[in-house]
Symmetry: C2
Subunit: 417 residues, 2 copies
């Protein structure tokens, strides 16, 4: 337990994560799902085909199924004549068999009848008559897609870790799969705390304001592949807070709490949660601006993250501290954050020795994209609605000059290729 | 009606779209939704706030609410003494009022009591006693966030057309909104056609193969903001096809049909659909490779798109022909396709006078991303599972050289910033 007296001992993000990972065993769960629900999630199994694709030798073109040797010597001037003994269309299963001098009319995708070992394209034959003239020789297996030529029974088709895209769905369908094992979305309890907060949709009595962080963080959780469960607003009061956190721990894998804008909100939570179980508060304060009021707790094997109350700060600290873990639990690539390059629109002066996250708005002028820093003066909601993302000014930078090309971390979640 | 005899008259994509838009009135629908369902969709209303944010004058810091004029002249060496007459915390509504020489203890976010017009930060005062010493003067309105200073009642907060991101959700929450008007996801019937096809999950009898396009196209529809309704597999037979298409027209806004790999599948559909209502088939064949078997039909005001049967071709033609319309119906930016730049890994030779879409696999080598063209020889499913996207070789290019930097259209849907 580290808090109150040790409040001034802040940890770097890396140290905070290292401490957390000592107490939290991060274990992505797997779940078997119908494919139409699994789209966009991440495969948690190596997929092995239980069938050959195609499952039989099939014609690649419309034409005639023949014995290749019967066509040898055929040419424009010297057609070979074969007797057509039937036809087979795609979807049918041919019962007939050909022998020397015979052929069968066949359509693209239809199974090759027994006895035949090549297909003559319709362009190189006469059509319709009982006796068919063939104007070209074919080699054995020509114009046939052999059984298993695309996917052999027992081979691995897709690897665990891939996102389920339209093509992956098509590939799974090709081998007849309706379900797949995917990483289960981590369940995340989202709690806002502050005596002045009420949830949107309720009536706003005097002295109250609407909770902004709850809905914003819930969506940020979803964009990391998580399933958000908004528990609502806890008062800044030990019993209320403890009850909300307990409910989160009972129903979810991770708890995310954000303070209201009142000073008390951030202070009371670590003390309350520290009482709830071992190891309690392990980080209180990040060496990052914003991040001083952030805390990390583990109670009975589950992590509880405390975020600042100021909305843009809450989203930025979420993105740095919480999002990578949610992505990992969802099986998504850890470094999947979407980034764009932009020119800094105005100089930033930062404190040396502290990392700083600066929210920015992206503005396109012609072909150049500028990142305009948003400063706190602009107001909490204004900053929130203007921010497209943020830049990360590292420990050892004091000044970032106007016009410098910087990387902007976008707020829109992961890039799933 | 144009088909059969006019099969060789192919249209460019632009001409095809122009013809379609003469017969199809594209009208995005709006729907009012709870915000937790609306996330990721597009706002269809200008959002005007019905409240002031903040809804009352509130303290920006912990400290004392004062009459500014009472503090004038205060300094480190010459504190002013005020009588503390009570306290107000965030979430409370103060009934008290201060008069000359009085102050009220106040916490961040709490409403300013009547009579007070500034806040002294706790750092510039003594604490706890009935008589408080103030070591600094404040100007009127200092350290107060005025009612409506962030959002004024009656002002537009968000504009129609924006994607509902975490920040937008936060902003809507700030003004108390629980629902919003968004563009309704267009309903898209997805039909596969081919006598040899069965849906994944069913048993595979001899001569049959699994339908690949249905599931892949359904997901591609969802990535454009649409709601896919997979109707299943129609046989290549007029009555079956007509029934499926009728069902699609009855329940959906758009119908997307893809042929099986059999030659018949693509040929029969336009003739059948042309019978179903005016104007019938308006485009049959696109001047694009792939695209020859593609068709565009309108029946009673609803479009029916016919895609090739070869899976990668189906996805590419979908992306060019159908996706922009679905995005438009969903309110998403039309040009929202995700693209990356890559170096072409091997030369492409294309036919002059025809646009060609070439599926590619992206391969990273060090810091360079290469696009490897996938040719048809690789097999339908192999090509599908390898393709990350495609490049668009324009009409007037014959050769694209190895090493040239080209733009790859990714298959993963739209970029929503």
């Amino acid at each position: 337990m580290v808090f109150m007296s040790e409040f001034l001992h802040v940890d770097t993000l890396e140290d905070a994560c290292a401490k957390l990972e000592k107490h939290w065993r991060i274990k992505p769960r797997k779940v078997n799902m119908p494919l139409d629900e699994a789209a966009g999630r991440v495969l948690a199994e190596d997929v092995v085909s239980k069938i050959d694709v195609p499952p039989f030798d099939r014609a690649v073109f419309d034409g005639y199924a023949v014995r290749a040797m019967d066509t040898f010597g055929a040419g424009e001037e010297s057609p070979v004549e074969l007797t057509c003994v039937g036809s087979v269309r795609a979807g049918e299963w041919p019962k007939l068999k050909i022998t020397r001098g015979q052929c069968v009319e066949i359509s693209t995708g239809a199974p090759i009848p027994r006895g035949a070992n090549a297909v003559i394209m319709v362009e190189y034959s006469t059509v319709g008559a009982k006796v068919v003239q063939i104007f070209r020789a074919v080699a054995p297996e020509e114009n046939i897609a052999k059984r298993g030529s695309e996917i052999k029974h027992g081979t691995k088709v897709l690897g665990a870790g891939g996102v389920i895209t339209p093509q992956v769905l098509g590939t799974l369908a090709a081998i007849g799969r309706k379900r797949a094992e995917v990483y289960s979305p981590p369940k995340v309890a989202v709690i806002s705390s502050g005596a002045e907060l009420v949830s949107a949709g309720s009536s706003l009595r005097w002295g109250k304001i609407y909770d902004v962080n709850g809905p914003a963080i819930c969506r940020a959780v979803e964009l990391c592949g998580g399933e958000a469960n908004y528990l609502g607003v806890a008062r800044d009061e030990p019993r209320s807070l403890a009850n909300f956190v307990k409910r989160g721990l009972a129903t979810c894998d991770v708890v995310v709490l954000s303070g209201g804008s009142s000073a008390g909100a951030g202070d009371i939570a670590p003390a309350v949660i520290d009482q709830m179980g071992k190891p309690g508060v392990i980080v209180h304060g990040l060496a990052m601006k914003p991040g001083k009021p952030a805390f990390v707790t583990v109670v009975r094997g589950k992590p509880i993250f405390g975020l600042p109350g100021y909305p843009v700060s809450a989203l930025m600290v979420f993105d740095q501290l919480v999002a990578p873990y949610l992505r990992r639990l969802s099986g998504l690539p850890r470094a999947g954050r979407a980034r764009v390059q932009a020119k800094l629109a105005s100089k930033i002066i930062s404190a040396r020795g502290r990392r700083e996250l600066v929210p920015v708005k992206l503005v396109r002028e012609g072909r150049v994209v500028y990142a305009k820093p948003l400063f706190k003066g602009s107001g909490a909601i204004t900053a929130l609605s203007l921010a497209d993302g943020y830049i990360d000014v590292l420990l050892n930078r004091e000044i970032v000059e106007e016009g410098e090309v910087i990387e902007v971390n976008l707020f829109r979640g992961v890039e799933v290729a």
